[in-house]
């Protein structure tokens, strides 16, 4: 039963990684760049939601929506100001810029919201008489599952299905796939590559806001560096699953979350991250393109 409980925790953490990894993987697939500032967009989303709910007393769903709107705009502005001028530059220049944007966001958060850790409220509760319940028990109280866990896993599934539908059935979604394969050919079809990249950043950043709220609901401490470690883990998850692949981000995220929690439980929390990255190294040795990554093959 304890194993089951670890597994559920792992799936929940993994779902958060997967949602963040989707942002990395979509941006990589289309703009061929690693947006290292993505983790910090999560942090901004969490702060927006935190202040909207605790300082302005807005209902939590409005807070989440507001966070999504702010992050969407932020993502598009970052792309327009920091990355778009570097479209023709070397990938190293873009990478360094992304790291710069990451520090810029962290330090802006420090200025705006101070370094004091905020305790994030748990929205996912059900009032029961005078008390509020944060979860439910199964098997005579042997297995406790919080509502946050349920919502997180469901949110991840819904987002996955929605994105799969979007990229497979809409004109914009198909244009994204076309751009990720060949930008020049996409332009010859009349696809505006700049708009497509901008939309990709918008979607990734809106997802980051959702991930931020879910992350802070499960692990309720919020500070300007909250986003950096989950950001790196989610990036790892994206590489693990095969960067550029949407199902890969889901698989990589879930596996990473489960491995991390199980390693923490059975090997030790100090070695938790070491185990996660050791697994990544082994996977990349065997499958360099990641679990679901496509091998580059050219036909002449």
């Amino acid at each position: 039963m304890t194993f089951l409980s670890y597994l559920i925790n792992g799936l929940s953490l993994g779902s958060i990684y997967a949602i963040i990894a989707l942002g990395y993987t979509m941006v990589y697939g289309i703009a061929k760049m690693l947006n290292f500032a993505h983790g910090d967009v999560i942090m901004v989303g969490a702060y927006i939601c935190f202040y909207a709910v605790s300082a302005y007393q807005l209902p939590p769903p409005v807070g989440i929506l507001l966070a999504m709107v702010v992050c969407t705009v932020l993502g598009m502005v970052i792309e327009r100001l920091a990355y778009k001028p570097l479209r023709q530059a070397t990938s190293l220049a873009v990478l360094i810029t992304a790291i710069g944007v990451s520090y810029f966001l962290q330090n802006s958060a420090l200025l705006l919201w101070s370094s004091t850790t905020k305790i994030f409220p748990n929205f996912f509760v059900i009032p029961r008489g005078a008390e509020t319940s944060t979860g439910f028990s199964l098997f005579d109280g042997q297995l406790n599952i919080s509502y946050v866990t349920v919502v997180t896993v469901l949110a991840c599934l819904v987002i996955m299905l929605a994105l799969t539908w979007f990229t497979g059935n809409t004109r914009m979604g198909k244009a994204m796939r076309a751009c990720s394969e060949d930008k020049g050919a996409a332009q010859l079809m009349g696809i505006n590559v700049d708009t497509t990249i901008s939309v990709t950043f918008a979607i990734g950043s809106a997802l980051a806001a959702i991930a931020g709220v879910l992350l802070c609901s499960a692990y309720p401490t919020l500070s300007p560096t909250t986003g950096s470690m989950p950001g790196i883990k989610a990036f790892t998850a994206a590489v693990f699953g095969g960067i550029g692949s949407i199902p890969g981000a889901l698989l990589g995220g879930l596996l990473l979350g489960v491995i991390e929690i199980l390693a923490g439980a059975y090997i030790g929390t100090q070695l938790q991250n070491a185990v996660v990255f050791a697994v990544l190294i082994v996977v990349l040795l065997v499958k360099p393109a990641g679990l679901l990554g496509r091998q580059i093959r050219e036909k002449v």
Binding site: K174, A175, E181, A185, Q187, L188, G190, V193, K299, V300
Partner: protein
């Protein structure tokens, strides 16, 4: 006035002067071919017309409108379509999705009809409409690339090396299709290394050498010219 007028364009790749003051024109209803050896500047010229590259000088006028600084993605709605060198179809997408991408600038309502039009022209594509394009043979991929370009109802179709990498029998077939398209009213600008085939269907041709136009004439004239025979037709 010609449908397409290219006037004194110069294109550079960094310090390399790839296109040196090229001028030519394409009249409505014509097949015009640009022939020349590897590196003569044929592909560069097409990419400059379609907006993927920029000329430093001169102008490109399409139906009376200067398009030399128009963004590549906007030219499709002007009526220009390009079948790029190496086909560059979307290998991970299905045949039908590739064709839909060709119709990106068209209203949704007309797409099923246009698909049928392309399938009539290329029945092989209909059989394989749900197949991922990367699994097609080279000839089928070329047909897909041409079908994809036709989906935008181009006034001018630009083809870059459609015969490249294809077996001789397929080359014949592709050129037959090009001739048919032209007879049905499409204006065609054809870039080819296979000078013999290109000149045999073209109304007029321009011979490019190291970024310059060196000779021009009707297809029949050029195919007979001893100079062309020696340099490009192997005899």
């Amino acid at each position: 006035m010609a449908m397409l007028e290219v006037n004194n364009i110069n294109v550079y790749y960094g310090a390399i002067h790839a296109i040196k003051d090229i001028s030519f024109c394409v009249e409505q209803g014509e097949i015009v071919t640009l022939i020349g050896a590897n590196g003569a500047g044929k592909t560069t010229t097409l990419q400059t017309i379609s907006g993927l590259l920029r000329s430093q000088t001169g102008s490109i006028v399409f139906e009376g409108q200067n398009i030399s600084s128009t963004a590549a993605h906007k030219l499709v709605s002007h009526g220009l379509a390009q079948v790029p060198e190496g086909r560059r179809i979307f290998l991970q997408m299905t045949v039908e999705e590739n064709l839909e991408m060709g119709a990106f600038t068209q209203p949704n309502a007309g797409i099923p009809q246009d698909l049928e039009m392309v399938f009539e022209q290329f029945p092989r594509l209909k059989e394989r409409r749900r197949q991922v394009a990367g699994t097609l043979s080279g000839g089928e991929q070329q047909m897909l690339a041409m079908g994809r370009a036709l989906m935008s109802h181009p006034k001018l179709l630009m083809l870059d090396e459609p015969s490249m990498g294809l077996a001789p029998i397929l080359v014949e077939q592709i050129f037959e299709i090009i001739r048919n398209l032209n007879q049905n009213g499409s204006t065609i600008l054809l870039v080819e290394q296979n000078a013999q085939m290109a000149l045999s269907i073209a109304h007029r041709g321009y011979v490019l050498e190291t970024g310059k136009v060196v000779t021009t004439g009707s297809g029949a004239e050029l195919i007979q010219s001893p100079e062309i025979k020696r340099a490009y037709l192997g005899g």
